[in-house]
């Protein structure tokens, strides 16, 4: 595994060791190992039901999932011991596959509350509505939105594509160290996909990392991953460079299932 983001292997940001997790008594993750270093972009691919979204949600702290074994270290700290809000404040961000709508709360209010919760944690001064809007303007432009999206209730009545863009807007505004994108590319048309990919690409820095959970190859033509993993039946069965993604695009996932079964 190499990190080409800054030319040499950076320090480890996320270390997942033998992670087992279940939901409603059913084991979904059956021993996941994953190491993400700063400056890297990882793609986690795999067939439906392989546990990709579960892995993403467990990392963000979804209360419905129970970790039954294993360990996750984030910047050397026990991530699993942290509440979802602590993880967010420490720089973990999950772009939801199915973003949640919230009635009555405007997108602007929501975003500002999130930014201020994180700023407060960092010992920074909280932003007032006007300062916040100024800071937001450029980020809106990047994702191709006008401010009308800010006065609408969070994700309420948003199309699938709008919800995904809204996740990316949050990503841009919150500027996390570890961004996990859970199938942000599904359900997007070509233009929306390009916008999302460009935004994510622009946010790449030597001191942060991105984990793209995806079912499809196409987003990887816009964001070059350093490492591609294949998750099948709750375990990472193969890891490789970006060529692996291309191979998956051509051959599908079935050959890996056979390989995993043999191994």
């Amino acid at each position: 595994m190499t990190g080409k983001g800054n030319g040499e292997a950076g320090k480890v940001l996320l270390a997942v060791r033998d992670l087992h997790a279940s939901v409603e008594g059913r084991e979904i993750l059956k021993g996941v190992d994953l190491t993400v270093r700063v400056g890297e972009v990882h793609a986690i691919m795999g067939p439906n039901g392989s546990g990709k979204s579960t892995l993403a949600q467990v990392l963000a702290g979804h209360p419905a999932y129970t970790v039954t074994a294993g360990q996750v270290l984030y910047e050397g700290r026990d991530l699993l011991a942290m509440a979802p809000e602590e993880r967010a404040r420490e720089g973990v961000f999950l772009a939801f596959q199915y973003p949640v709508a919230i009635r009555g709360i405007t997108n602007a209010y929501f975003l500002r509350s999130a930014v201020n919760a994180i700023r407060k944690h960092r010992g920074q001064e909280e932003l007032g509505p006007v300062e916040f809007m100024d800071a937001l303007e450029e980020k809106l432009r990047v994702i191709g939105w006008d401010s009308s999206y800010l006065t609408r209730p969070v994700n309420e009545g948003f199309s699938g594509g709008e919800k995904k863009r809204n996740e990316i807007l949050q990503l841009a505004v919150l500027d996390p160290k570890l961004a996990i994108l859970d199938e942000t590319d599904s359900g997007l048309d070509i233009d929306a996909l390009k916008t999302v990919a460009q935004t994510v690409d622009k946010l790449r820095r030597p001191d942060n990392a991105t984990v793209l959970v995806t079912h499809y190859y196409r987003i990887l033509t816009h964001i070059q991953p350093d490492v591609v993993h294949v998750l099948a039946a709750g375990r990472i069965v193969k890891s490789g460079g970006k060529d692996l993604a291309l191979e998956l695009e051509e051959k599908g996932y079935d050959w890996l299932r056979t390989e995993a079964a043999v191994a």
Partner: protein, 438 residues
């Protein structure tokens, strides 16, 4: 003496004393209404419409009628706290007009905002009162509206002439001292009439508030007439005292191509029942019926709404949200009637209730009666605690569980507040909601 006889005796005393000098038409209405009340009696929980709301705290007590505002009058600071703005206002104390607290500042020529008692005695407005008063709110099938009509003496009278636009909202404030009189708790029967003429535009803020924490009863009726092409908004704020009892009827009638927004904010009273009946009586009329109840302790509030689509091509949008904490009980009953011939009706109703404790309770009942075939009617209601998925979503963005809960709770209120069109009123009520939820 049984309950009914007591009210009959009170009526005799009232008719012979406080109500003397009334025009014959009014005397006749009052007499009809007291007779009807005697027939109906107080409702019981055996009646479908009153299944969830017991009026025993009213029926089992003796309430004395107030004849004049009791001193000391409310202080200016009370008014400041209870008014949403500094515009024109008409103030009533224990159901009677308090001219010294009222202000007619900045009213455009021809606009009347005054006491109903004064209006009835005046030639032109007297004719208007006669034309509309007790013609809309159905006292024939409501014991409480009948009782209010029997004891009809004073309340607010608002008349906005054709084509006039009122920039500032008009405020009507009904204050109850909330202190029992020498002989026990008191009742007032405020009666209001708002007539918005053809093409006129106006907003009225109607506030009911209690100043003390004693037992009292407010039995209010308001009739609203929105004439052809007029645009009106009613903001109805209920902030009765903690032991206050309120029964209220709001009845609106809309003519062709008119718009009416009725915004209800229910915060106070130990027991509150509000019957809202809106009649879309002219083609092309549009109604927004938008309400929020925030209850805690052992508060009980029951909103019964009827939207009567009597004519074709009308639209009604009804949204009621409830936030219920501690042992509070919210009741919502929303009836939508689409009359034969009311084609192309577009009607939408939602009632969402947030339960903040396991002892809080909400009952939600939609009732659709549709007698036309080319209509669009939808309804939906929810009752439940804070949504775990929403909570997690907010926490995953760095908000504490407590902050996330508070935002989600406020969202229930904000959704309703956002539909209020007058920014100054909305902001004031928004502050009230935030204070209440804090």
């Amino acid at each position: 003496m049984n309950v009914i006889d007591r009210y009959l005796a009170d009526f005799e005393a009232f008719a012979g004393n406080g109500a003397s000098g009334a025009p014959t038409w009014l005397t006749q209405i009052r007499q009809g209404a007291i007779a009807r009340f005697a027939e109906l009696g107080f409702p019981t929980t055996k009646q479908e419409e009153w299944r969830f709301t017991s009026v025993a705290p009213i029926a089992d007590r003796r309430f004395l009628l107030e004849h004049a505002p009791r001193s000391p009058l409310p202080a200016p600071s009370d008014l400041e706290r209870l008014c949403v703005g500094v515009g024109p206002r008409v103030v009533f104390v224990n159901g009677r007009h308090a001219p010294g607290l009222s202000s007619g500042a900045a009213l455009p020529a021809g606009v009347q905002a005054t006491s109903l008692a004064a209006a009835i005695g005046n030639g032109v407005s007297g004719d208007l009162a006669r034309e509309h008063l007790a013609r809309h709110a159905g006292w024939h099938d409501s014991a409480f509206a009948a009782l209010n009509t029997a004891f009809l003496a004073d309340g607010a009278f608002v008349h906005v002439p054709a084509g006039v636009t009122l920039e500032q909202p008009l405020e009507v404030l009904f204050l109850s001292s909330g202190r029992p009189g020498a002989d026990g708790p008191t009742v007032s029967h405020p009666r209001s009439l708002f007539v918005i003429e053809r093409g006129a535009e106006a907003a009225v803020v109607e506030t009911y508030a209690g100043l003390g924490d004693g037992v009292y009863w407010t039995n209010a009726v308001t009739e609203i007439v929105v004439r052809e092409g007029a645009r009106a908004e009613l903001y109805r704020v209920q902030r009765e005292g903690p032991q206050g009892l309120q029964i209220a009827t709001t009845h609106s009638r809309q003519e062709r191509d008119s718009f009416l927004g009725v915004h209800v904010l229910t915060l106070g009273a130990a027991l509150a029942r509000h019957d809202i009946t809106t009649v879309l009586a002219g083609a092309g009329a549009e109604l927004i019926l938008n309400g929020l109840y925030l209850l805690s302790a052992a508060q009980h509030a029951d909103h019964h709404t009827v939207i009567d689509h009597a004519q074709p091509h009308c639209a009604s949008h009804e949204y009621f949200n409830g936030v219920l904490a501690e042992r509070a009980h919210g009741v919502f009953n929303g009836r939508i009637v689409v009359r034969p011939g009311a084609q192309r009706t577009d009607s939408k109703q939602t009632n969402n209730n947030l339960l903040l404790s396991t002892e809080a309770r909400a009952d939600s009942q939609p009732q659709l009666e549709i007698y036309a075939d080319d209509v669009k009617c939808t309804h939906g209601s929810t009752v439940g605690p804070i949504d775990e998925t929403q909570l997690y979503y907010l926490r995953s963005r760095g908000l504490s569980a407590e902050a996330a809960r508070s935002i989600l709770t406020y969202g229930f209120g904000a959704e309703i507040l956002d539909r209020m069109r007058r920014p100054a009123v909305r902001e004031r009520l928004d502050r009230l909601v935030r204070e209440r939820l804090a």
